[in-house]
C-alpha cells in the first residue's frame, strides 16, 4: 500500500470511529493533489483534508476521536514538522522568555535528550521536573539548527507511572580531532557573566572588565558520529604543556593572541584521542582526555585475523 492510501485509511478510520462515513476516493484524490502535486508536508496535508471534511460534514472538533501519533524515541527525531508521541522524563525546566510560551526545557528518554516547548495557547497543566509523562501528538520542529518538540492545542500530556531512564550523561569517545572552531585558544571572558568577549565587548555587559582563559571548542569524529567538544585550560595544559601562563607568553612573544590558536592547532588537530565527558544539549564537556595510545601490533594482528 502506498503512503497516500495509508494516510487515506487513517482519515477514514478516524471519522468512522466518530460515527461518520466519508468517501475514501475523494480523500485520496485531495491528499494526492496536496502531497504529490503541491509538495505539501504530509502532516499539513492530512490536517487540511481533515479540516475540510469537518466543515463539509459539520463535525464539531471535540467529537472527532483523536488519532494518536506514532510513539517515537527521541534519537529518531530528525525532520521537523512531524506529528509524534513521546514517553519522556522532564530533565530540566527553564524560565520562559516569551509570554507565548508557558513552559520550556529539556525532556529525555533512554535514547537522548531534546528541548520541548509548551505554547501558552495549548492551555496545558504544567509538567514537573523529574516526572515522566506521555507527550501525545506533539510536533517536531527545528530552531536554531537543533531539533525540538512543540506541545500545542491538539497535544495531550499524561503523567506516567513509569521509570524512564535517561541516557548516560558520561560518555567515552575515541576519535580524531578534525576541527577547532572560532573562539578557541587564548580568549577573554567577562568578569560579571563569564561570557566570551568578541573584540573585547561582552554581548550582555558591553565594555567590561575581562580576564584571560584558555579553551578549545572542537569536533571529534570517529567515522560514524561526531561530537562537539569543549576542552578547558586544564585539558589543554595536560595535552600540550601550554597553560594560561604559557599561552600569554606565546601571545606576548608574537604580539598576537591568535598565535596561541595556531600553535594549539598544529599540536592537536588531526590526532586521535580517548576522552570522557558529560553530554550537554549540544556540547560534550570534557573531563579527561589523552592522546590515544594504541598497541599497533596487537590491533593490526587482530584485524588481519578477520581475513581468515
Amino acid at each position: 500500500m502506498d503512503r497516500i492510501s495509508e494516510l487515506t485509511e487513517q482519515i477514514v478510520e478516524r471519522f468512522k470511529t466518530s460515527g461518520y462515513d466519508v468517501n475514501s476516493k475523494e480523500i485520496y484524490k485531495r491528499l494526492k493533489l496536496l502531497i504529490d502535486e503541491f509538495k505539501v508536508p504530509e502532516g499539513e496535508a492530512v490536517r487540511t483534508v481533515t479540516n475540510y471534511l469537518m466543515k463539509e460534514l459539520d463535525v464539531p472538533r471535540e467529537q472527532l476521536v483523536a488519532v494518536e501519533s506514532p510513539l517515537t524515541k527521541i534519537a529518531e527525531i530528525k525532520t521537523p514538522g512531524e506529528w509524534i508521541s513521546l514517553k519522556a522524563r522532564v530533565v530540566q525546566l527553564w524560565d520562559s522568555s516569551s509570554p507565548n510560551v508557558s513552559q520550556v526545557g529539556l525532556i529525555g528518554d533512554e535514547t537522548g535528550i531534546i528541548k520541548f516547548v509548551v505554547w501558552s495557547k495549548a492551555n496545558k497543566p504544567p509538567v514537573e521536573e523529574g516526572k515522566c509523562y506521555l507527550f501525545a501528538n506533539v510536533v517536531t520542529d527545528s530552531f536554531g539548527g537543533r531539533m525540538q518538540v512543540n506541545v500545542n492545542r491538539n497535544s495531550r500530556i499524561e503523567e506516567l507511572d513509569e521509570d524512564i531512564q535517561l541516557p548516560p550523561r558520561e560518555l567515552e569517545v575515541v576519535g580524531a580531532l578534525i576541527a577547532i572552531q572560532q573562539n578557541s585558544g587564548l580568549i577573554r571572558r567577562c568578569r560579571i557573566c563569564n561570557r566570551v568577549l568578541t573584540k573585547d565587548v561582552c554581548p550582555i555587559h558591553g565594555k567590561t572588565e575581562a580576564y584571560d582563559d584558555l579553551r578549545i571548542k572542537g569536533v571529534v569524529d570517529d567515522g560514524e558520529n561526531y561530537y562537539e567538544v569543549i576542552l578547558n585550560e586544564e585539558n589543554v595544559r595536560e595535552l600540550t604543556g601550554i597553560g594560561i601562563e604559557e599561552a600569554k607568553a606565546i601571545a606576548m612573544e608574537n604580539l598576537d593572541r591568535n598565535s596561541v590558536l595556531s600553535e594549539l592547532k598544529s599540536r592537536l588537530l588531526g590526532r586521535y584521542y580517548r576522552l570522557k565527558g558529560n553530554r550537554g544539549e549540544r556540547y560534550l564537556i570534557v573531563n579527561d582526555i589523552e592522546f590515544l595510545n594504541m598497541d599497533l601490533e596487537k590491533e593490526a594482528g587482530s584485524l588481519l585475523g578477520r581475513f581468515e
Partner: protein, 246 residues
C-alpha cells in the same frame, strides 16, 4: 526550515582508502547543496579524514595562491586543491615542505568531464602529524572498510543495493588491498621498533664510555630520523609507479 536544519548537521568524516575513493564516480542527489558521493562499498560520503604523505604542492599558476596537492596512503594517491576559500588549510600548507606525513580533513568534489569523473579534495585542514597517527589511521580505515565490505555482502540497505548496481565491486580484491595496506604498516612499524631496540641495546653497551654518551645526548631522535625518511621515500616511489601504471 528543513534545509537550514540540515546545513547545521555536520557531515561525518568518513575513513576511506585512496584506492576506494578514487573509484567513486556516482553523485547522490541530496536535495540541498552538499555534494555526496556513493562509495563503492555502499556508504554516502561528503567529507573524509585522511592521514597520508603529502607528496607535493604546486601552485597552478604563479602567484595565484591556488595550490594543487597530491597525498598518498599505502593504496594510492588522492588529488586536491587548496585556495583562498580554505584559509586554514592554505596557511598551514605553505609551511609544509613535502614529503611529510599530514592529517587532512577534506570535503569531496566530483569533476564530471568527457573522459570520466575525477574525485578531488578541498581540504579544510592540513596538519603535519606523527608517524603513529598515520599508523593508527591505516588500522582504523582498514577496520571501517572491512565493516562496509561485510555490510555489502549482507545486502539489503538502499545505498548498498545502489552500490552493487553502480559499481558491482570485486570485494575480494578490495579485501586484498586493505590487507596489503595493514601489512605494509605493520612491517614498517616492526622494522622501526627493531631498529629502536637495537639502538637502545647498543647504548647500554656503550654506557661505560663517557665521551660517547655525551655525543649522543638525544640518541633516540638522532638515530631514528634517517630511518624514517628512508622508509617514507620508499613508499613515495611505490605510489608514483602506481599512478604511472593506471
Amino acid at each position: 526550515m528543513n534545509e537550514q536544519s540540515r546545513s547545521f548537521r555536520r557531515a561525518v568524516a568518513r575513513r576511506v582508502f585512496a584506492f576506494e575513493l578514487n573509484e567513486a564516480t556516482h553523485r547522490l542527489e541530496s536535495g540541498d547543496k552538499t555534494i555526496q558521493v556513493l562509495l563503492p562499498t555502499g556508504e554516502a560520503c561528503s567529507r573524509i579524514f585522511f592521514v597520508g604523505v603529502l607528496l607535493d604542492r604546486e601552485e597552478t599558476r604563479p602567484d595565484s595562491d591556488f595550490w594543487r596537492v597530491r597525498i598518498s596512503d599505502p593504496t594510492g594517491v588522492l588529488r586536491g586543491f587548496v585556495g583562498r576559500f580554505q584559509p586554514d588549510a592554505l596557511e598551514s600548507l605553505l609551511k609544509i615542505e613535502p614529503p611529510e606525513i599530514v592529517a587532512v580533513v577534506s570535503k569531496i568534489r566530483l569533476f564530471e568531464g568527457e573522459r570520466g569523473t575525477l574525485i578531488t579534495l578541498r581540504p579544510e585542514n592540513i596538519v603535519p602529524v606523527e608517524r603513529e597517527v598515520r599508523d593508527y589511521w591505516v588500522v582504523e580505515t582498514a577496520k571501517r572498510t572491512l565493516d562496509r565490505i561485510e555490510n555489502m555482502r549482507r545486502g539489503g540497505e538502499e545505498l548498498v543495493e545502489l552500490a552493487w548496481q553502480v559499481y558491482n565491486p570485486d570485494l575480494d580484491s578490495y579485501e586484498e588491498r586493505v590487507k596489503e595496506a595493514v601489512k605494509t604498516i605493520l612491517d614498517q612499524h616492526s622494522a622501526i621498533e627493531a631498529a629502536r631496540k637495537e639502538i637502545e641495546e647498543e647504548e647500554e653497551e656503550q654506557e661505560g664510555e663517557e665521551e660517547k654518551e655525551f655525543e649522543a645526548e638525544e640518541p633516540g631522535e638522532e638515530l631514528e630520523i634517517p630511518d624514517l625518511e628512508d622508509l617514507e621515500f620508499e613508499e613515495e616511489e611505490w605510489d608514483l609507479s602506481d599512478i604511472l601504471g593506471e
